[in-house]
Subunit: 235 residues, 2 copies
């Protein structure tokens, strides 16, 4: 028996509809929000300068407002990264994707990495928001990925996330599996970077991802609709 | 008559010795500082998390402590970018390389771009520090480059700077010439991104650059020494 394909609405609910390019225009962010409302994506993910605009356009609707902090290098002063998160929350974000300081992790400065995460996870919790911790897996050894996962879990983050999309590589099924095995079933795992098709998404979900960061969300859901209709499901 | 090549010390005084990779280790930053002291580079340029370390290692010596703000995307909330600059200054930075919000520039939101620069140029001035404004020229049309230059000049910045090194392209002699022609002789122009050899540097200087951002500073100055010695100058 062929498995029933995932319903298109279920696919959309997995996707953080994302536009993080340096030259993204306000008009492109508005389009992103219209698409998120149309497809009911999980969230709209933007750089923090666009949080006020996105919060206004999504007010009262289901997609969450997701901002990044310390993005994409993760190497800003911890207090500045925390301040960026606080300002984004105050402007209406309800999810913060923060980047760890990769250099500190690699140098074994685990207390600094943990404090960085704990600060942002704390202001998120106070605001009723989710904190996702971006590891930038393409820069890390498997040991470093596991260590970062445990630091994120113990610091109270809601999700671990593979990639910024600006590093030397994106999400892989093997990395998603490693993250899922390390954090256990209770935390979220977000796969991001290079997820460009429905098959990419399904691979990540099979590996344990519960959220997908993608700029190709519209294409992916349209693929899901086509496949679902072809399998005889109602459109 | 062949022109006398630039003295190696003069070459070194043009260079911001730079390491901005996400995975830069504390030990690599320490090496960067030792090299800056040895060669008397203009500055050491790092992500803000490393400003306290660099400020400690360079205390009382000639190379300046240079941090970045809103780097490399420029698309963080203006208040967060300003806060990052303030915290870096408080930690010992005396030069701040900030990235403009490219999307706002492209959308014609010049007042927002100007306010962003004015805020950071202002805290720099109060701290006796220099503010350099990164345009990310590879993303801009010539009209946008000129407009950004005038906004930076009128907002009180000390330098305009071509590139982050993380965009789709780096400095070109044509862009440096355009920036120099637009801001006139009083402001600094920093060429950065892809300057990997002495000849690259000399081209940028000939086009009007007064500062060079490079991670290859040691190689460049060693090339200058070799060439200077070959031309009969004292080493």
């Amino acid at each position: 028996m062929t498995p029933q394909p995932l319903q298109p609405a279920a696919v959309a609910r997995l996707i953080d509809h994302t536009l993080l390019r340096a030259d993204a225009l306000p008009a492109e962010i508005e389009k992103l929000c219209r698409e998120a409302l149309h497809y009911s994506f999980a969230a709209v993910c933007v750089n923090s300068v666009y949080v006020p605009l996105v919060a206004r356009l999504l007010r009262g609707s289901s997609p969450a407002v997701c901002s990044v902090a310390g993005f994409p290098l993760g190497a800003m002063l911890a207090e500045a990264k925390l301040r960026e998160a606080e300002l984004a929350l105050a402007a209406g974000a309800c999810e913060i994707d923060m980047v760890i300081h990769v250099g500190a992790l690699k140098a074994g400065e685990d207390a600094a990495v943990a404090a960085d995460i704990r600060g942002i996870a704390g202001v998120c919790r106070s605001a009723g928001a989710l904190c996702k911790v971006i590891l930038e897996t393409a820069l890390l050894t498997d040991e470093e990925k596991r260590r970062a996962c445990l630091l994120a879990r113990d610091a109270g983050a809601a999700f671990v996330k593979t990639s910024t999309g600006f590093g030397p590589g994106g999400a892989t099924p093997a990395d998603v599996r490693l993250l899922r095995e390390t954090v256990g079933p209770a935390m979220g795992v977000k796969a991001s970077g290079g997820v460009r098709s429905l098959d990419d998404l399904l691979q990540m979900v099979a590996a344990g991802a519960t959220r997908i960061g993608a700029s190709a969300g519209v294409k992916i859901v349209e693929e899901a609709r086509t496949r679902y209709a072809a399998a005889g499901g109602p459109r």
